[in-house]
């Protein structure tokens, strides 16, 4: 199977500038006096959370070449973990609930990964989807786990230990922004580490990697677990932000959205995942505002992207503005 179109590991100067400007814009936004500021704050926070989710999938898909149709399972599991950990009358402390929730997601990824990582190509796609659906139905069918109605998260986590009040919209916004930048820098560093180089090798030619002595199963499983853990971080933030979790968070549509965000932006460099997340959400909101039958437009948009821009927006940008010597950040 040919390797997916991951490219642009070293981001061109233009993209680096774009990212820098973007980060500054995001940091400055809460100070801009605009109508409906609260609404936009919330919307952008959600986009940032989805960007973290997309980056976690990019590690799996863009870097390692594993196309998972079940990544949302870990996103949702961490969200449910927060919901279960938060009592009805008190918030739960951030410092231990976040690692615990992300850890639970990571553990699930480890267990499922053990079965799933031994498959290849189309099988991998199908079994990741199947296991995610299994988890979906587990929550959907069981009243004790909330059932199809879901569960409320009555309080946002308590971060007063570090002087932040997450119930405050602006504080939560900056907390999410910090998480986004943190995860990005972490993953960029990982990309150029021995581990990241090995994952890229596995994507391009797993057979040769084994022939030169890499235990590729272990590498893929580690990537799968790490990706699941980071998806958990995003899921935790989502549950904290929206105050509500339901099985749809773990469902097929959520997983497919993640794939599309990563593809739309351009795979394999994490910047594309961020761009893709923002672009995808924006397009979806735009279509939803236009018509009740927005799914038709969305479907058409997706088909168009596959045909016209298989390497995503960053890939298009590279084609249009030409390659120049890029950097690692």
């Amino acid at each position: 199977m040919s390797s997916p179109k991951a490219t642009l590991e070293k981001l061109p100067r233009g993209v680096q500038v774009l990212l820098g400007v973007g980060a500054l814009a995001l940091a400055a936004f809460p100070f801009v006096p605009v109508d409906g500021r609260d609404f936009y704050l919330q919307m952008i926070t959600q986009m940032m959370i989805l960007a973290i989710f997309a980056m976690s999938l990019d590690l799996l898909q863009g870097v390692t070449g594993l196309v998972s149709l079940g990544h949302a399972a870990y996103f949702g599991l961490a969200g449910y973990a927060l919901a279960f950990l938060t009592p009805a009358d008190n918030p739960v402390a951030l410092w231990w609930s976040l690692p615990l929730a992300a850890g639970a997601a990571g553990l699930a990824a480890l267990v499922i990964g053990f079965f799933v990582v031994r498959t290849h190509g189309i099988y991998f796609i199908m079994v990741t989807m199947a296991f995610a659906q299994m988890i979906y139905f587990l929550f959907f069918d069981n009243k004790s786990l909330g059932g199809s109605d879901g569960i409320y998260v009555y309080f946002r986590p308590d971060a007063s230990a570090v002087g932040i009040d997450l119930e405050n919209r602006t504080h939560f916004y900056y907390f999410t922004l910090a998480a986004l930048i943190g995860v990005y820098l972490l993953l960029r560093r990982l990309l150029f580490s021995p581990f990241g180089r090995a994952l890229s090798g596995i994507r391009v030619n797993e057979h040769r990697m084994r022939a030169v002595g890499y235990g590729t199963f272990g590498y893929k499983l580690a990537a799968f677990t790490l990706a699941g853990t980071l998806a958990g971080v995003a899921g935790y933030l989502w549950a904290a932000q929206t105050g509500f979790v339901n099985p749809e968070l773990m469902g097929f549509h959520m997983s497919a959205h993640a794939i599309m965000m990563v593809i739309l932006g351009g795979m394999g460099n994490f910047a594309g995942a961020i761009v893709g997340a923002f672009a995808f959400e924006y397009v979806m909101h735009f279509f939803k505002d236009m018509t009740k039958h927005w799914q038709l437009l969305m479907g058409g948009f997706i088909v168009l992207v596959v045909i016209v821009a298989p390497r995503g927006l960053l890939g298009l940008g590279e084609k249009m503005f030409g390659r120049n010597k890029g950097g690692r950040l």
Binding site: R189, S193, P194, R197, R210, V212, G215
Partner: protein
């Protein structure tokens, strides 16, 4: 210390009813090149795959550097000191020549993918890996191409890269599957010179169709036809063997 680095005994590989390799034994000694020749479909590539772990044998034993390896995974066989190059170029096309070889060289570091240290250190600052990589690139004669993308170099250079990657893991046993395939005269000559240089420190098995190269390099020659060994010995004795002449060499002109 024994110079017998790889010993394969009575290897058989069946696909359904067909025996692609049938009771084949091969010994590889340090400082000796053992060539395996035969017509297409003789089972030479299958034999190589059995030795490298790409295919498990139906029966038979393989002893590599003192350990039993029949049916083991390719990665563990590689770690025991076996290097294998492929007939159909099997490199990382989108990466540069340096990155190709570096990745192979990195595999020798004692790595557990779960160790977070390896998630945050810089891959390019691994000194031992870089040294290994430098040596392999130089040996294979690709220093002038170090930072060129592998997909853009010539076919002959890609075959050199094949070898460089095989050497970067510092193996003691080399299995080379048609290293001269598709090479022009000059390129073939430098490849033959390279193989001569490698001989001293390695036990080598060479699968080849280029008869000039085979007879100039081989210390030992095995002829395979239809999955079986029909002759094995010094090049001179094999060449004179009437069975071989009838089955194979007679047609090779």
């Amino acid at each position: 210390m024994s110079d017998l680095l790889l010993s394969a005994q009575h290897l058989t590989k069946r696909f359904g009813g067909l025996a692609a390799v049938n009771d084949v034994s091969v010994d590889l000694f340090r400082d000796r090149i053992h060539a395996v020749i035969g017509p297409n479909g003789a089972g030479k590539s299958t034999l190589t795959n059995l030795l490298s772990g790409d295919l498990p044998p139906t029966s038979g034993q393989i002893r590599l550097n003192g350990r039993e390896t029949a049916g083991h995974a390719p990665e563990s066989i590689s770690r025991l000191g076996l290097g294998r190059s492929y007939q159909k170029t099997n490199i990382f096309l989108p990466f540069t020549v340096w990155d190709n070889v570096r990745l192979a060289a990195q595999s020798r570091e004692r790595h557990v993918p779960w160790n977070p240290i390896h998630w945050f250190s810089s891959a390019t600052r691994m000194t031992r890996v870089n040294e290994r990589c430098e040596r392999a690139v130089e040996l294979a004669g690709l220093t002038h191409r170090t930072h060129t993308v592998a997909a853009t170099i010539s076919h002959g250079e890609q075959r050199q890269l094949e070898i460089a990657m095989t050497l970067a893991t510092e193996p003691t046993v080399l299995l080379l599957d048609e290293p001269l395939a598709g090479m022009g005269q000059a390129e073939a000559e430098s490849m033959v010179a390279l193989l001569q240089r490698l001989k001293k420190d390695h036990a080598m098995m060479l699968v080849e169709h280029d008869m000039d190269a085979v007879f100039s390099l081989a210390d030992q020659l095995t002829v395979m036809v239809n999955g079986q060994v029909i002759a094995s010995g010094t090049p001179g004795s094999v060449r004179a063997d009437p069975l071989v002449q009838a089955a194979y060499l007679g047609e090779e002109h």
